[in-house]
Subunit: 374 residues, 2 copies
């Protein structure tokens, strides 16, 4: 039945069957339990469907047949001739060093230390990890890190009270509410309560509006898309006049990335879940920014020779050879991309490290602005 | 010398020499004084260069040689087989009738009449005409129209004082500052002073931000792009999944038009002055919205068979046969477009009448929202 369904599918859908992009669909059939396979087959490639990790969760909780032990080849970090690996770790290290120097200079000159406050609600392990990493990153560059951790059953009012406190606290220059919030809270109300001058995430609609408008400047640019553009800049990749395709239109990455590229005079197309023939459009791009959360969705054949690829996707796929049982891959099939692209970000080690670096940079910018420190 | 310059130009630049899209460039050479010709030749097609009307002004004020009397053929309102003319006059009439009925129902039910306040500064004839037309339009649907006309040498504080008064006036549901303001005023400061709940133009960055973000709703959608989408809706033209190209990225039309198309699930590309090979990209579009202010820029050969064209451009070109000495044409060469497009807006009579209809609609929406009237 799986084969019949597969044969009626377009080649676009087919690729979701494979989690190593080099493997064939027949191999892929062996990798997935039938329920999982069906869910993939009926999913448009750009829809924000369940990730494979969720698929695994579904599988284990539903006591589906056990997965065969198939070895997933690791994404090779070798590249095709002349293909440049855009090393996000190295760039983010460089940026953190610059921030460290600036934080130190500011402290010496005016006695002010930038401060970032993080509000965490509930017991999600992933959220706790993100918050811990942000705290560590702050410490590493000399930024003060404040944190409040509220219980899962806290009220919206409690969260708002803490935001209000940080809004009024002159030692806090940036406020970050870790998402997602528990479902009984109105995320929009909570985020809107953060003073725009401290909205280091850059998600306030006033910031986004300014980002969209010519002649206006946002107070903060959202961290992940800002990191993508910074990677291009620091690798000397020109944007002006280039055809750029952004895959995904989320408020957090895709949409602001498209606005940023357009501000830099690229000709931008946004490809999303309702786009027909995405591969045709993507193939025209000189610069691809992909942010859809679909493992290995963009194949080598979708990429124009010499294109530059910024892969925002961080997707866990099963890997019995890994101690954790899974490994991370991007939205773009790395092994195929390096054969055609002129430059490509690896996953992990590409955009990922840039996001926190940009958060630190936004906090520094905020502190400098509040204290008129140049 | 003009010929030499012309021969070194690309075919894209060449078309600016012609103000009837059917005429040849050699004809065009005869239409323009040499100084004017040079200015055209070095201008990228999508740059907001001087319009031909400004060119005429330049010509007359500089006492350049008189223009030869050449007859410009009028844009024919006939169309190719099966091409639909999108009649903005008829649609806007229908919308105004709907607004009239709603204004009357609201007045009867709760005794409230929507009110639009317009602030005009200075003596620009075109601005005075726009304001007069808006006033007339308000009257025609039963909306109260308030107006203040300040002298050219008024201070910014005086303008802000009037805005503040209208912000606090409960009989005013929409405030419109007629642009451009005199050069000694800061346009951004003035526009930002309008209460967002009364920003019927929809130009506030908070409105634009909400327009850009998924899951957010702007209080008002800017009138001209809203009119473009309304024309598509009322002609039963589906947007979802279509390739759309917006030509021009102004804050007033191009940018919000692109955001609106994307909200309706089109795959959108914005073409602008830095775009290479705009015709190649435009040729892929199922829907074209052009808003660059360049007469007859988009040629028939740039249009995919069956595309839908919304032409926002209203460009005056010389026409000695017209009593006014000029006539209006769009950004798209109408005579050629009707041969390939499935539907097209004429100029005038397309998008133009929709803008004021949408302003009236936004004022009605504002009054309804303020009084919780459904």
């Amino acid at each position: 039945m799986a084969s019949a369904a597969a044969s009626s599918c377009s080649s676009i859908s087919m690729m979701f069957l494979t989690h190593s992009c080099a493997s064939t669909s027949s191999t892929a059939h062996r990798l997935l339990p039938p329920g999982c396979l069906r869910r993939r087959l009926h999913c448009h490639p750009l829809q924000r469907g369940p990730t494979y990790l969720r698929c695994l969760t579904f599988h284990s909780s539903a006591a589906a047949p056990s997965l065969p032990h198939v070895v997933f080849p690791h994404a090779s970090l070798t590249t095709g001739t002349n293909t440049k690996v855009i090393d996000g770790k190295a760039v983010s290290k460089q940026i953190r060093d610059e921030i460290t120097a600036e934080v130190s200079r500011m402290k010496e000159a005016i006695g002010v230390i930038p401060g970032l406050a993080v509000i965490l609600v509930g017991d999600r392990k992933d959220s706790a990890t993100y918050v811990r990493n942000k705290k560590k990153a702050c410490e590493s560059v000399g930024i003060n890190s404040l944190e409040v951790h509220l219980a899962e059953d806290s009220t919206e009012e409690e969260v708002l009270k803490h935001i209000s406190g940080y809004n009024d606290d002159p030692s806090v220059h940036g406020i970050l509410v870790q998402l997602p919030l528990p479902s009984h809270m109105n995320e929009q109300n909570v985020l809107n309560a953060v003073r725009i001058e401290k909205d280091v995430d850059g998600f306030h609609p006033l910031n986004i509006g300014r980002l969209a408008m010519r002649g206006r400047e946002p107070l903060f640019v959202p961290c992940t898309p800002k990191g993508c553009i910074e990677l291009l800049h620091r690798h000397g990749i020109s944007i002006k006049g280039k055809r750029a395709v952004v895959i995904g239109r989320s408020n957090i990455v895709g949409m602001p990335a498209a606005l940023l590229l357009q501000r830099e005079d690229a000709t931008v197309t946004v490809v999303h879940s309702r786009t027909n023939n995405p591969e045709e459009i993507i193939k025209q791009a000189d610069i691809i920014i992909s942010a859809v959360g679909q493992p290995n969705m963009v194949r080598g054949s979708w990429i124009k020779t010499g294109a530059v690829i910024i892969d925002v996707g961080i997707n866990p796929v099963e890997d019995p050879n890994s101690p954790r049982g899974y490994r991370l891959v991007g939205d773009v099939c790395y092994e195929e991309a390096v054969e055609v692209a002129s430059a490509v970000t690896p996953v992990p080690g590409g955009v990922g490290p840039m996001t926190i670096a940009m958060l630190l940079q936004n906090t520094l910018i905020s502190a400098k602005r509040m204290h008129n420190f140049e």
